[in-house]
């Protein structure tokens, strides 16, 4: 039976583990930022737009380093929460239908006979929560991919 008396190279193993920990930590942070930017982009596709203040207030804010990294995706506009949570409000196609006469009266008709300032049809409340939940698996895969690079 083999008798293990002496282990050599343990310091080297520990140094390598520490180095790879730092590397994976960096990759994790990068992955979170990539996923955050993706979520912001998906959110921007459906965020309600009137004058554009809400859409332009979107941010992706990384915090911490290595394994303590986190990324916050959000909107700084003060009324963002209200628009996000108010499921009674008409957005997108529903807004265009509800206010069709008023929009046309104010802005006139654009190309194709549509009101000049009609809102994007996909605009809706829950513009951040919805893409986050729908793309959960994709977001996790993005982070995993960056870590594995």
């Amino acid at each position: 039976m083999a008798n293990l008396r002496n282990i050599t190279g343990l310091n080297k193993v520990l140094a390598n583990m520490k180095k790879s920990e730092q590397l994976i930590g960096k990759r994790l942070r990068r992955g979170l930022i990539v996923a955050g930017l993706f979520l912001k982009r998906e959110s921007q596709k459906i965020v309600p737009v009137d004058e554009g203040n809400l859409k332009n207030s979107a941010f992706v804010r990384p915090a911490g380093f290595g394994f303590h990294s986190s990324v916050i995706v959000g909107y700084t506009a003060e009324y963002a929460v209200y628009v996000h949570e108010d499921l009674e409000a008409a957005h997108g196609a529903a807004y265009n239908q509800k206010h069709a006469v008023a929009i046309e009266k104010k802005y006139g008709k654009g190309k194709g006979g549509k009101p000049f300032k009609a809102r994007g049809e996909n605009q809706q409340a829950k513009f951040l929560e919805k893409p986050a939940r729908e793309n959960r698996e994709l977001i996790l895969a993005m982070i995993a991919k960056e870590i594995a690079k």
Binding site: Y82, E85, L87, K126, R133, R136
Partner: protein
Amino acid sequence: MNHSPSEVIRQYLLDESLFDEDLADDWSLYVDAMPPKPHKVAAIYSTTGLKDGRLMSTGETIFHNGFQLRVRGINYNAIFLKLRAATDNLLTVHNASVTFDSGTYTINNVTQAADLIYLGLNPEESRRMSWVCNFLSTITMEDEA
């Protein structure tokens, strides 16, 4: 399922006597819409759910249904307390059985997704204000009559 998750949750809250079944009374509970009157009403809205993978033994996909509970009224504190009471009750749900129309459903659990959110005064009706809370739930249908 023959009913939307919001309808099942509504029935559960009515069974628990947290809201009034008569739609003409105060604190009646609606699904996916709120009437202009009376002032004091609540509604459950369906929101995006969360797919949570499959069970290895049965292959069943577990899906958590999202819903939002919104309470509207003219007294800030009364609305908050109403929503707080409903939230506290929902958080105690553990395999609760709900029977209505032709089906029996089991609400396996309800998870609060975020804190209670004050939505402020309704811009079109300055006296009225709302509080909302978001949840995720797991609901299974037991049988069909």
